[in-house]
């Protein structure tokens, strides 16, 4: 295994594009090193992209949007008061991953590119409308987070392509987001169902909504019918019933030791309503504790 520390994304892409064997990009390493140690994936070229300038930065742009470097850890996000105030749901999804130690290294892009359908940060990013900057031998493009996963352990990135930045929209007025997951424990577990919701209010009425589900299909899913169920409502019981039905209908889960198909499908509906309520409360400026 060759270990590379390129000083620019262009150099990283050049190394990856010329590599003949297995290539992995290394940021936090919390998945890559586990795969390396268990002999699941032994890269011929391991490209550490953390030394590229800007990869550790959390920047709020003039228009209120955010640009996160690909090596920003979960702990750095949780400690950033401005980001937590703007996008608490996105941050709480990331914060639920692993232990304090894992938070010290784990990154949004790593969680996304590892390709787990149960990745906790992904539904929150999708609900928030996050895009990533994809760079490769053929240039640079901006891709919605929901278009990156291709299936368990797989992404739509081509050979030599990498993600160079995370772009989070401006939160704007009267918005709120939330992420919740179901796990059998209270901490340190893999989601059985995860739900991300972001919405915007005009008075008490929901005017914009995005709903995303994790761990109930081969990739995390956008649920446009769930968003449609919310828009125009005050999150009354009828809207919640429509949201729950839409979330359950979107599920295409597997049976495994963490949950059956029937259980996941039912929980998706219940959790979508709870998560929407948290996002709604936040949009109204109410304080909503994390880890509930």
């Amino acid at each position: 295994m060759r270990y590379h520390t390129p000083a620019s994304f262009d150099d990283a892409i050049a190394i990856a594009a010329q590599a003949e064997g297995i290539t992995r990009f290394l940021a936090g390493g919390t998945d890559v090193l586990v795969q390396l140690r268990s002999d699941l994936v032994t890269p011929d070229d391991l490209i550490d992209i953390k030394q590229i300038p800007g990869t550790h930065d959390i920047v709020q742009n003039a228009d209120g949007s955010w640009t996160l470097g690909i090596a920003v850890s979960g702990a750095e996000m949780t400690e950033h008061a401005g980001l937590c105030a703007a996008w608490p749901g996105l941050v709480e999804g990331m914060d639920l991953i692993g232990s304090t130690q894992v938070q010290g290294r784990a990154t949004l892009v790593g969680n996304l590119c590892n390709g787990s359908p149960a990745a906790d940060s992904v539904p929150g990013m999708m609900a928030a409308g996050v895009t990533v900057t994809v760079m490769g031998p053929n240039g640079t493009r901006e891709v919605a987070v929901e278009d990156i996963p291709a299936g368990p352990g797989r992404t739509n990135l081509a050979k030599g392509e990498l993600i160079a930045a995370v772009n989070i929209p401006a939160r704007g007025e009267n918005g709120g987001d939330a992420y919740q997951r179901f796990i059998p424990r209270t901490e340190m577990d893999i989601a059985v169902v995860g739900v991300g919701v972001s919405l915007r209010l005009d008075g008490d009425i929901i005017t914009e909504a995005r709903v995303a589900l994790g761990a109930v299909a081969p990739t995390a899913l956008m649920v446009p019918d769930g968003a449609a169920a919310l828009i125009g409502s005050t999150l009354d019981d009828a809207a919640k019933a429509r949201l729950a039905a839409a979330a359950s209908a979107a599920c295409n889960p597997i049976d495994d030791k963490r949950g059956t198909i029937e259980f996941r499908t039912d929980v998706a509906g219940v959790l979508a309503c709870r998560t929407a309520q948290r996002a709604y409360d936040r949009a109204q400026g109410k304080k909503v504790a994390k880890h509930v």
Binding site: R2, Y3, L33, V34, D48, S99, T100, V102, R105
Partner: protein, 159 residues
């Protein structure tokens, strides 16, 4: 296969070593620097027995390559005591008998010290969540949590 030259700082001392690119920081600490306080429990970042600080950030040294330590400041359990004077956390772990076999203890001491430096007055819930990635299979967690809470109280009083 060529080795990588790593220049780093461990517990305040400048250190150089050569490592294979596949070797973890934990491998390097234990096998090259003879710092065997950090343990390999799981090797997959689940148990926290290999906890160290890198530039003040708590991490699992099994989830980081030795090569990544270049230019960083590493702090291990060996640096917690001041010569023969134990750190207050170490004293309290003895007072509370907050260990049995001791495999998890170095990682828990490093993690708890890192918590108290960030938050000198944590709630019990905060301590429990902070240490959720440090598994102990014999003591049970109550004595550990009590020892950390009591240390925090003493350190607040002393400061």
């Amino acid at each position: 296969m060529s080795k990588i030259h790593v220049s780093t700082t461990v517990n305040g001392d400048p250190v150089d070593f050569l490592c294979d690119p596949r070797e973890t920081l934990l491998d390097c600490l234990r096998d090259k620097l003879a710092l065997t306080g950090a343990k390999e429990g799981c090797g997959t970042g689940d148990c926290g027995a290999c906890s160290v600080e890198v530039d003040g950030r708590l991490v699992c040294s099994c989830l980081m390559l030795g090569a990544e330590a270049n230019g960083k400041e590493i702090a291990t359990v060996e640096g917690i005591a001041d010569g023969d004077t134990l750190h207050p956390l170490q004293e309290k772990f003895i007072d509370y008998a907050a260990l049995q076999c001791g495999i998890c203890t170095p990682g828990i001491l490093v993690a708890a010290k890192n918590l108290l430096e960030k938050n000198p007055d944590p709630t019990e819930e905060e301590v429990r969540y902070w240490l959720a990635g440090n598994l102990c299979r014999c003591t049970g967690y109550d004595k550990i949590i009590k020892a950390v809470m009591d240390t925090a109280a003493d350190m607040r009083e002393a400061s």
